[in-house]
Symmetry: C2
Subunit: 294 residues, 2 copies
Amino acid sequence: MSALSGRALGFVGIGRMGAPMCRHLAAAGAKLRLFNRTRAAADALAAALPGITVAGSPKEAARDAEATFINVSDTPAVEAVLLGESGVLAGLKSGGIVIDMGTTAVTPTRRFAAAVEAKGGGYVDAPVSGGVVGAEAASLSIMAGARPDDFARVKPLLERLGRTITHCGGVGAGQVAKIANQMIVGLTIAAVAEAFALSRRAGVDPGLVRQAIMGGFAQSRILELHGERMVTGSFEPGGRAGLQRKDIAQALELAGEVGIELPSTKANLALWDRMIAQGFAELDHSGLYKIYEG
Amino acid sequence: MSALSGRALGFVGIGRMGAPMCRHLAAAGAKLRLFNRTRAAADALAAALPGITVAGSPKEAARDAEATFINVSDTPAVEAVLLGESGVLAGLKSGGIVIDMGTTAVTPTRRFAAAVEAKGGGYVDAPVSGGVVGAEAASLSIMAGARPDDFARVKPLLERLGRTITHCGGVGAGQVAKIANQMIVGLTIAAVAEAFALSRRAGVDPGLVRQAIMGGFAQSRILELHGERMVTGSFEPGGRAGLQRKDIAQALELAGEVGIELPSTKANLALWDRMIAQGFAELDHSGLYKIYEG
């Protein structure tokens, strides 16, 4: 019998990431109560799996739940489903834990946690890397920020969803790690794009350059995957440029709050702005390569 | 008996990279004639290995050689030992090949090749990645630019020195690939440094961030090796910041020549300048992290 058998869990937000997570938790025997803005998606999932019921509000999804997952699109959406009327906080029992799996700004995250803790609950920020493919394969990298006890309690749940679960520190630390991740991804894409664009302009095939340098210090998953997309000109997303831009802007916002200058990141934001201004917001972020053409 | 047995080769420049290369070639049975500015180093190597003699000039080292390696510090040094009075070109026999293993500017490389080809010779630019450790283990990545026939002739020699030998295109293509490599290295170091500096300033341990994101899209050898150095504050070189700065400046010089703007690379140059202005030119390039402190 699974360790999760019979545990009551709330789940708010069943998108392309949330739905496979629900499946993994249900498969492990958890009793899920779902809320989704578009109810039909929740109904369909509940019909397909055992132990799932559908709630009329985030509050109802969270009621009596040991833990309630939030998996919505952005910081204002987290605020609405958590603190709004009929929000998760209104339904939270003492000792209940809120787990935010989304990429949410750091300072609001700490404010959300304070509100939850004031009601006797615990808060875990647990953003992920690995995308829809990782969510479906339960192979996500999960970066968690939480009080140690809260982390210990939710770890068995997170282990159903990801392969690497790292406790990065107190509340907000998971979001900081996610920002660091997105910064490195965005800046490395620009590095590869500029190196390939210069090569091509100097008359050398970027595909051969990629092959020549892959085994050395320039090696990265970005060079491997996104570099290949630049070589073949295949820019279907994947990770959309518009979202990458949002993440870089969020990094610079946090940098402003904590008083640090990040010149590379600032230069990087201007590149995504240029890409988006050229009408490429919906392309994969590797399509940044296109702004160096022509 | 080795494929190189008895082949007469010139070798100009026996530094920390050149000396182990000579050992590998001699071990494979090549007859080497060495020239080094400081003669004592050449004498010592010749005394220690069979089939090695010492020449009084680059011209003498190249005389009757099937191929002559050049492994000197920078573009002006290549020009001096190749085109100077008593230079390699003066000793080159028709059909002889010049192999430049150093990191040399692209446009001069093409000019050097033209001079060699005018005398009936061939030119191969073959810069390497992997450092002294790679030279000693014969595990270098070698990026070659050459006419196809010239590349085919020197490939068995290069295979004694490296593990990955990639023919990137005509003369200069190896140098272009090397510049691309150095750009990606320099820009990725800055990406990791800014991500870690922001994390720390936001109260999160960069060591935990590194661990959390290593399995995802942010993965790179830089995050692994140089990121570790940032976490532990160990900045003994390794690759010196002063050299990294030179490589980035060279990339921007080439960009100017071919008429392409590289905003990330330009911003990157300013960071190395700042690091060097703070007195850190002799630190490992991962020490860029220090400019974000305090």
